[in-house]
């Protein structure tokens, strides 16, 4: 299954708006300028996730995920390499913690940051495509390649993958946005996207 150029473009623009709103919210929390950009969307098979995700940098990562349901179901995830997550937490909490010093407190904060970004993207999706979702509570885990392998156990799924660049306190932090969904769900999502494009007079 492949995305047409126009579909890629539409989804890219959608996430661009989503992360833009997320940056706005995050800047209110940290009271500093925050910038988020999300270049191109790529579609990949879940089993290729390890290769399409970065190599060594993502061997250990912080992951915030939430499940949402609606006309289609999906799991939305935000992944940051562990030391990048630490940079984010240190910026948001105005601290200088090391990985050993990260406690529940900081992990919760990371979960909230991920939640803000994920919700902003999903609400942008809902807004633009005019669909209704129900979004669950976010969860935070530390993961490694085994976590990714477990995700790919379900052969019937695909992932929409975006690189997310977060600029905060003059530090550039790279992460990944992953939409895990079944082939059927992807089909429905693309139908919604096509519907949106048609409504705008672009087919």
């Amino acid at each position: 299954m492949i995305l047409s150029d126009l579909q890629k473009d539409a989804l890219g623009e959608l996430f661009n708006i989503g992360v833009g709103r997320a940056a706005s919210s995050l800047s209110q929390i940290v009271r500093d300028e925050v910038s988020l950009s999300a270049p191109q969307v790529t579609l990949a098979k879940t089993e290729d996730l390890t290769s399409t995700l970065l190599g060594a940098e993502f061997s250990e990562f912080s992951m915030v995920s939430l499940d949402f349901s609606g006309p289609f179901d999906a799991k939305a995830m935000l992944l940051f390499p562990e030391r990048n997550a630490l940079t984010i937490i240190n910026s948001m909490l105005d601290a200088e913690l090391t990985p050993e010093e990260m406690s529940e407190f900081e992990q919760e904060a990371m979960c909230e940051v991920g939640n803000v970004i994920l919700n902003a993207c999903i609400s942008a999706l809902a807004d633009m495509l005019d669909i209704e979702f129900l979004g669950g509570l976010p969860e935070h885990h530390f993961g490694d390649h085994q976590t990714i392998a477990a995700m790919s156990a379900d052969q019937e799924s695909v992932v929409l993958l975006l690189q997310i660049d977060l600029l905060i306190s003059q530090k550039l932090i790279e992460g990944r946005f992953v939409f895990l969904l079944s082939i059927d769900s992807l089909q429905t999502l693309l139908e919604c996207v096509d519907g949106f494009l048609a409504s705008q007079g672009m087919v």
Binding site: L93, F105, L134
Partner: protein
């Protein structure tokens, strides 16, 4: 609401608020009411932002809005949010306006009457505990790296600093110098004055060394062995290192710490071995230590109370020629 639902919510030990599709309050449970400073008489049916005006323009309001508009759930953690709802652990806190630390989940609901639920947990105790643990943990870490007697760094600290500084010197392409300082005739001192006095002497030497060091070098002073100290000096070349060593040697001599154990020298003196690693020379990390040791040995052989410097290039120890 059914009796059993109401009963359950009223028994819970977390706060529960239920809002309708217009952000109006439909229900709040006993736990929540009991932790408010003032319980307004007519709250049901009121807009949540009218009941709690302080939440306007807050993350909580944005989260409630997002739940109502988009059915998306969120969490607000105490780390990133100051306590936004006027909840207090105990009556005494109300007087000093010390709100409880709140972990708030805003949950979107699909229900006939309720669109949004707020779940509020009191995490004040957890946070206090975590702060205490953090303080303890950093104190422990500090103690693990400190020599109990003299208060300077210990051998473990030296070993890890050595690795770190060698790595950095290679990265930055700058030299790294090491001074090993050994108290002259310490065994005789101990035998003559007794161990407690020997300990006291080491403490004084450590202090004198610290006085002789620049502010940023004080941290790198470590007790290397029984009567040995070591100082790692990053970005310092061979000549500068020798000057530092001389300065310290003179500082100790000038402290006039009495030593009647030997007729030869009435005061405590030290011998110092100096060595310098240059980033471009392919020496292993340990070479810095073994060569400084060698220089120290030569200093002892030369009659003590002096400094010797090892030259990596010529593989010889010597006094660095005086300049000026």
């Amino acid at each position: 609401m059914q009796a059993v639902e109401s009963f359950l919510l009223e028994s819970m030990q977390v706060g529960v608020l239920l809002l309708d599709a217009e952000r109006r309050l439909k229900f709040w449970n006993r736990w929540f009411r009991s932790h408010l400073a003032n319980v307004p008489e007519f709250a049901y049916g009121e807009y949540v932002e009218d009941i709690f005006p302080e939440i306007c323009n807050s993350r909580l309001y944005a989260a409630i809005d997002q739940a109502e508009k988009f059915n998306l759930s969120s969490m607000l953690t105490p780390g990133l949010n100051k306590p936004v709802l006027p909840l207090f652990q105990k009556p005494a806190d109300r007087k000093i306006n010390r709100r409880m630390q709140q972990l708030i989940h805003v949950i979107a609901l699909r229900h006939e009457h309720y669109k949004c639920m707020l779940q509020i947990q009191d995490v004040t105790a957890t946070i206090k505990r975590e702060q205490r643990l953090k303080v303890q943990s950093s104190q422990l870490l500090d103690a693990a790296n400190r020599d109990a007697l003299t208060g300077v760094g210990n051998r473990r600290r030296f070993d890890s600093a050595l690795q770190e500084l060698v790595y950095q010197s290679r990265q930055k392409n700058t030299p790294l110098s090491l001074l090993i300082i050994d108290v002259d005739h310490f065994k005789s001192y101990n035998d003559f004055y007794g161990h407690p006095k020997g300990d006291e002497c080491l403490k004084q030497i450590a202090q004198a060394l610290q006085l002789g060091l620049r502010q940023d070098s004080i941290d790198s002073l470590c007790r290397y062995g029984g009567e040995e100290f070591a100082i790692l000096l990053p970005d310092v070349d061979r000549e500068t290192a020798f000057n530092v060593a001389e300065r310290l040697r003179i500082q100790i001599e000038g402290s006039r710490l009495e030593n009647r154990a030997l007729a030869k020298s009435p005061y405590i003196t030290v011998s110092i071995g100096v060595s310098t690693l240059h980033p471009d020379s392919p020496q292993p990390v340990q070479a810095l230590v073994t060569t400084a040791d060698l220089a120290l040995y030569q200093a002892k052989e030369a009659g003590r109370n002096c400094c010797m410097s090892y030259d990596m290039q010529s593989a010889k120890t010597s006094y660095v020629p005086e300049h000026g």
